[in-house]
Subunit: 157 residues, 2 copies
DNA sequence: TATCAACAGTTGACATGTCAATCGTTTTGT
DNA sequence: ACAAAACGATTGACATGTCAACTGTTGATA
């Protein structure tokens, strides 16, 4: 067996991606796009910076995925009236429907991945992930909750 | 907390990558290249197909990473005398030294990721990965052992 | 034996991530 | 009030993965 944890993580992630990709593609989405519309459907309209911060990815990546989502009619981009640097990303009707469909797909993938895990094991597995994650980004805030993002939004007022 | 396992996996993987990247870069390697020279240093010269099969990635990705490794002087590419379709990838002296240095880096990253995990927890975490992996690729062989790759090579004779 | 299918490798086009540079807007400091 | 700095978004260039098409070699079959 592969003894390196970094390879276990790498390979499990890639296996997941190979399962996730066709589910997203069936909805007209690329690999990275579902998480964006999922966030938008949970937390409502937000800026691109918020998306980049929440997922801890480069704003450039967000920008290009939104280009694709916009072209596909899943989101619209506007400009914040109070700060014209900032864009406001909104789900369209189609985007909302797709986000709902995606949630079902995500459920399916999760069920497949965790088949045979008891609830206690699932709990433990999740806890391991969180600990490993924290170890890997000791200085980064652990923003793994969509509600955190929404909270930040509210704070701005 | 993020309740979706697929996001836990995604985010932990990305956190790891952000730690791994600079370690590889310090050796002149891209993100995906260390695993290739690691495999070569463990299992000896092999074909590109073997690398693609072992890591379950597209042969095209292997081809381009080897382009970079070759340009960097880490590997050489030859042609199999018995089958001129097949290339033979060999580590150079520099490649071997770099592979050894990478193993230390990988050790460090692993230590960081698993800080605070008891040996039993590490064992369990690894087992969870393997189960999840198998659930995600029910039809794929679980080739997570470099020795498996070597075994396949031997079988060919 | 001559053809056809399978195979290894390469290349092109795309997606998603990185970093670095740029553009226009806002905020800050004097 | 103005100059400088910070900031959000965008774009270009690169790495690594996907798939699809192509090349050349090998092997199987009629």
């Amino acid at each position: 067996m592969e003894r390196r944890f970094y390879m276990l993580l790498y390979r499990t992630y890639h296996a997941q991606r190979s399962v996730v990709r066709p589910r997203g593609a069936a909805l007209g989405l690329g690999t990275g796009q579902p998480k964006l519309i999922d966030y938008l459907s949970r937390c409502g309209p937000c800026s691109q910076k918020q998306l980049a911060d929440y997922f801890e990815i480069d704003p450039a990546a967000v920008c290009r995925m939104l280009d694709a989502l916009e072209k596909g009619g899943f989101v619209t981009r506007g400009v914040d009236r109070n700060d014209r640097r900032t864009g406001t990303v909104c789900l369209t009707e189609k985007g909302s429907r797709t986000a709902a469909a995606w949630q079902q797909a995500a459920e399916d993938v999760e069920q497949q991945m965790l088949a045979g895990f008891t609830p206690e094991e699932q709990q433990q597995f999740a806890e391991f992930f969180r600990r490993a994650y924290r170890n890997l980004r000791p200085d980064g805030k652990f923003g793994m909750n969509p509600d955190d993002g929404a909270a930040e939004t509210r704070e701005k007022e």
